[in-house]
Amino acid sequence: MTDLLEKAREWVGKAATAPTTARDPVNVPMIRRWCEAMGDTNPIYVDDAAARAAGHPGIVAPPAMLEVWTMAPYRPGGRTAEDSMAVLNLFDDAGYTGVVATNTGQSYDRYLVPGDVVTASVTVDSVSEEKRTGLGIGHFVTLVFEFTDAEDKRVGRMTFRVLKFKPNLSQPEADKGKSDDASGGYSHPRPAITHDNAFFWEGINNRKLLFQSTDGRLRHPPSPMDPVSGSLEFDIVESCGRGTIHSFVVMHQPRLPDFDYPLPVVLVELEEGVRIIANLIDADAEDVSIGQAVEVDFIEVEPDYLLPAFRLN
């Protein structure tokens, strides 16, 4: 491990900054402006009667405003809250001067209501190995924000991931385009959803492995016609998620930004007889072999985007 990564990882589990308390309590004027800007027309955020009719004690704040209350003041050209985090400054000092927010996710414990005073406490959750990305080499730093009310009770939580990178100025134009393709612009590659396969990917997002079945024959990848009978009719059945490794590979190159390498990828023959590709998780690449029993799990790679993955059983 490099000195930089070692130093950065000393921050994991520690507070990234001192807690920030909102300058203003939750209030209707800010809610109204935010809803107008976002195009959110839900009346419970601005109309007391509508909020009561919906079972609330009165107007509530949109949950997605969670971070708004404690955001740093707007100062054109000034530093943002992330800039002043010591863990991120380590990267700046080492030449990783670029920063880009890659993804964020929020969860909510309760609705905020006018008068609530929110405090945000930020912890460093993880620092990735060095990754090669379209923008340049860099490290992903994941921060966890905990939001509490005046009674110090948690009201919500947010993960926020940034990439600190060395701007890749010397890369030829042609290569640049290609590596942007390869790294997918920091969002995890997504499957194409068609009329034929939507059920499969919806199933995955609902933590189910679903397959088409005609006369008891399962098939994958999804396709409109059963090749034996020629039927366009099919049932959808849920796999038990258990199977054995039929074959596998261990990826070393090329690398996508949000995977850990060496990366085992397995072809699993499920108990129902159908095969599927997914990553093998919580296992060292050298422990993988053909014939091993595995069981499916589902990994949230981005909010609202799940993928199946297997564990050794």
Binding site: K178, D181, P191, I193, T194, F259
Partner: protein
């Protein structure tokens, strides 16, 4: 049994640019340079060309190529899909066009700056548009399987498990190719042979594939002129007669990811090509003098040996260990150095080498005058040719 396609058409000319990592000029220019060289080789005027055939992956439209070479009336143009699986199929298209009288002189071409302008090996994450072809990638790319090497390695791993072939057996393919390339001034790896230890020490790309199991990435172009055998006999070069030409896709065929068929370590599409080629030509495996077997990744040279019946199932490893792929062996393979040693021009340079073996002009000439086999990409819908002298 022979077919009406057999022996009707012949390859009368071959041409190529230099093979490099950075051509410094456009793919279109590479295409017309190679085509001009192939026509010169044949002794055919540019104006005589009335057919063109290439890959769907080629970036040089037939009409622009035709405009460049001063063509007048283009009567036949067709493209073949599925990447390197196409390789021999444009020649098959040309032979069919000639056999049916649709065209008289068809030029097949492939020109690419695959190393300097884009690279197949750096990962493919296509935009998720709702088409069948795009949705295919959704079952692999989100899990980090983003390159041809990653897709085909799955079958290679299973092949090792079933056959007992080892990484060193794959390495022997690479060593033989580099040995052949070392004699070939046109090869990128001219005078650069490797040892089995070099292969074993080369970095992992996707286990079980080392770097030296993977073909090169190259800039360059190859063109092949096809005309009637009768006309070819009157031209500058001895004709390489197309005794057989075939395409194949088989059960539950996928694009490099045929993971769902009963056996994933076999190549039923290549077995289909083999059966058709031998039937058309009236030949058996033992009749073949030398072969260009598509070598994007070394394990698939072993499985092709089995597809064509050069060795029984799961025994290619023994054939390879005995040195049979090298000059002096039972079936010298990829005598130009293959795509591992010469260049990766999507298999088209392998067709040129087969023509040279028929003419007797290869830098690694295999004695005798028997027929020569050429194959196209594996793991994909594929194609093949058997070429022979007059």
């Amino acid at each position: 049994m022979t077919s009406s396609l057999s022996n009707v058409a012949a390859i009368a000319g071959i041409g190529a640019t230099e093979f490099s990592k950075n051509s410094g000029r456009s793919e279109m220019r590479l295409a017309v340079e190679a085509i001009t060289a192939a026509l010169d080789d044949a002794g055919i005027d540019r104006e005589e060309v009335d057919g063109l055939s290439t890959f769907t992956m080629d970036n040089n439209p037939e009409i622009e190529v035709f405009r460049n070479i001063g063509g007048r009336e283009l009567k036949f143009f067709s493209r073949i899909h599925y990447g390197g699986g196409g390789a021999c199929a444009p020649v098959m298209q040309a032979a069919m066009a000639i056999a049916t009288g649709v065209a008289n002189v068809v030029v097949c071409y492939r020109a690419m700056n695959e190393r300097s302008q884009y690279r197949f090996g750096t990962g493919h994450t296509p935009p998720p548009v709702p088409t069948a072809e795009s949705s295919h990638y959704g079952y692999y790319v989100p899990f980090g399987l983003v390159s041809p090497a990653s897709w085909v390695a799955m079958g290679a791993q299973r092949y090792m498990y079933e056959s007992g072939a080892t990484s060193e057996d794959f390495g022997r393919v690479s060593v033989a190719s580099r040995k052949h390339a070392a004699n070939n001034p046109a090869a990128w790896f001219y005078e650069q042979p490797i040892t089995l230890d070099d292969h074993q020490q080369s970095k992992w790309i996707v286990e079980p594939l080392h770097l030296l199991d993977c073909c090169q990435e190259s800039d360059g172009a190859v063109a092949i002129v096809v005309t009637s055998t009768d006309y070819a006999r009157k031209l500058r070069q001895p004709p390489a007669i197309i005794r057989a030409a075939a395409q194949g896709a088989a059960d539950d065929q996928q694009m490099m990811t045929s993971y769902y068929r009963k056996e994933i370590a076999r190549l039923p599409e290549m077995e289909l090509v083999a059966r058709q080629l031998f039937d058309q030509a009236g030949l058996r495996p033992d009749d073949i003098r030398t072969a260009t077997l598509y070598d994007h990744f070394t394990p698939y040279v072993l499985t092709q040996l089995e597809s064509f019946g050069f060795t029984p199932r799961n025994q290619a490893k023994d054939f390879v260990r005995e040195g049979n792929l090298e000059i002096g062996g039972r079936l010298p393979v990829n005598t130009n150095g293959g795509q591992l040693g010469e260049a990766y021009i999507h298999g088209m340079n392998g067709i040129s080498e087969a023509v040279r073996q028929v003419r007797g002009t290869s830098v690694n000439q295999v004695p005798g005058d028997g027929p020569v086999l050429v194959t196209a990409g594996t793991g994909v819908p594929t194609s093949g040719l058997i070429l022979d002298g007059a």
